[in-house]
């Protein structure tokens, strides 16, 4: 039986040398990851968590979207390691051959944790209107809040593929007209064309009672 605490101590040593920029090629850390994830040994995962937390934290600080996220690093560190745990526990570990691949995956989890948060902040920022009180008139009915139903209704109201692409770019991607021109040069020559199409699209969407019901927005 493997002595997890001895293995963890050797891995911690290896990782601290790695953090100082010295590349090491022992199998101790890889082995510890294998015990933690493939064999689901909770003492091994506990050791991984403690050993790699400083590295994960450095990655959080390095990520370009971290400063704008305005959230504690602790939160992202914990989310990253938890994502990693759930993504690889009990499966998929045999696809890794080297510690560098495991580290890359862990780094990916840092990115995912930050981007997941970033998407939420963007979505919030986007639907904030100047007058907060008008938001109070939006009756929220969770079972009706289905993006797919809304999108299907929009596709019915805007049968032309080009209009659908515009609605998707504006509402699902939150692109500005200048970005839409760049993105779909075959559809649009300039931003003026987009503005004039957008106001017609907005009217069609606003006037549709069924869509307003899906959006849970009353007329007044």
């Amino acid at each position: 039986m493997t002595d997890i605490s001895a293995l963890a101590a050797r891995c911690a040593e290896e990782q601290s040398r790695y953090a100082e920029g010295i590349n090491v090629h022992s199998h101790d850390c890889f082995d510890l990851f294998r015990h933690a994830l493939q064999e689901q040994n909770s003492a091994a995962f506990n050791a991984i968590y403690r050993t790699y937390e400083p590295q994960v934290r450095r990655w959080v600080y390095q990520h370009s979207h971290y400063p704008a996220a305005q959230e504690e690093a602790d939160h992202f560190v914990q989310q990253s390691l938890t994502k990693f745990y759930f993504a690889l526990r009990g499966r998929d570990f045999d696809r890794f051959e080297h510690i560098s691949q495991v580290m890359q995956y862990l780094k990916l989890c840092v990115h995912s944790a930050i981007m997941q948060y970033w998407r939420k902040t963007q979505s919030r920022r986007m639907h904030q209107v100047d007058d907060e009180s008008s938001l109070l008139n939006v009756a929220v009915s969770p079972n009706l809040l289905t993006p797919l139903a809304a999108w299907e209704r929009i596709a019915t109201l805007l049968p032309e593929a080009r209009d659908q692409r515009l609605a998707h770019a504006a509402f699902a991607q939150g692109l500005k007209p200048s970005e839409i021109v760049e993105e779909f040069p075959d559809d649009w020559e300039d931003v003026q064309q987009i503005y004039s199409k957008l106001y017609r699209i907005r009217r069609v969407l606003r006037d549709d009672e069924e869509l307003r019901t899906i959006l849970s927005v009353s007329e007044r």
């Binding site: 370009s64 914990q78 989310q79 939420k120 209107v129 999108w151 998707h168 939150g174 959006l215």
Partner: protein, 237 residues
């Protein structure tokens, strides 16, 4: 002006309307109401549809690392062809993965001191539902029990103290039995000052931490595979 035209409404929403029009709307309750109604629809569209059909950041990452099965990979490539936001994320990830891993002696301090954004959306805060039977959290010889609640969830904590330190036993119980599997296997993180410990939540929602030296500042987080997090913090002695 009796009513705003569709064009004017659109310009006001896009922020391209001129100052004169904005002033006119601000001074006229009827025009303002017309604009508000349009903005409600606009806000609801963004709220409901923003990135609605985008793959998760995890899926984009698996794509970038070429870990997706062929069918999923093709579907994702089709999405990337028409979604600039996702292409930007993939490019950002490629840059991030390519940055040097560990510049020696990189300071571990936060590069900024910005205020936190309340509330934290992915976390549910556990609140004490009753006073502990024994108010001592640390240093006491007696055992203490705590009960915390979050919507639909109750966490029972017992702190046993002996010569080897504290043993924390916890159990997370869901109000609905059907919710229990969602929390089974969740990861429990106990953070104190510089140290951190983890334990998995078993099928009965139970977990244990042994031989702990409890300090004044303790944060307990329980995260399930859907990324939902329960958090409880204790900051003072």
């Amino acid at each position: 002006m009796k009513n705003l035209s569709d064009q004017q409404i659109s310009a006001l929403i896009d922020g391209t309307a001129d100052a004169a029009l904005k002033a006119q709307v601000a001074a006229n309750a009827h025009l303002q109401a017309q604009l508000d109604a349009a903005q409600r629809v606009e806000a609801a569209l963004h709220r409901l549809l923003y990135r609605w059909d985008c793959p998760t950041p995890d899926a984009l990452g698996e794509y970038q690392l070429q870990r997706l099965p062929a069918a999923q990979r093709e579907a994702l490539a089709r999405h990337l062809a028409h979604c600039r936001r996702c292409r930007d994320e993939v490019a950002l990830l490629a840059d991030f993965l390519a940055t040097d891993d560990a510049p020696p002696r990189l300071a571990l301090e936060s590069p900024r001191g910005l205020p936190l954004l309340p509330p934290r959306w992915d976390e549910m805060v556990l609140r004490p539902s009753m006073a502990p039977y024994d108010s001592a959290w640390r240093g006491a010889d007696d055992d203490s029990s705590y009960v915390f609640e979050a919507p639909g969830l109750t966490l029972f904590l017992e702190d046993h103290h002996n010569e080897e330190g504290h043993r924390i036993e916890g159990q997370l119980v869901t109000e609905e039995t059907s919710d229990q599997p969602r929390w089974s296997g969740a990861l429990v993180e106990l953070r104190q000052d510089e140290s951190v410990r983890t334990a998995p939540l078993d099928e009965f929602g139970e977990f244990t931490f042994d031989n702990l030296a409890l300090s004044d500042s303790v944060t307990l987080r329980i995260t399930n595979r859907d990324g939902e997090t329960l958090v409880w913090s204790r900051d003072s002695g």
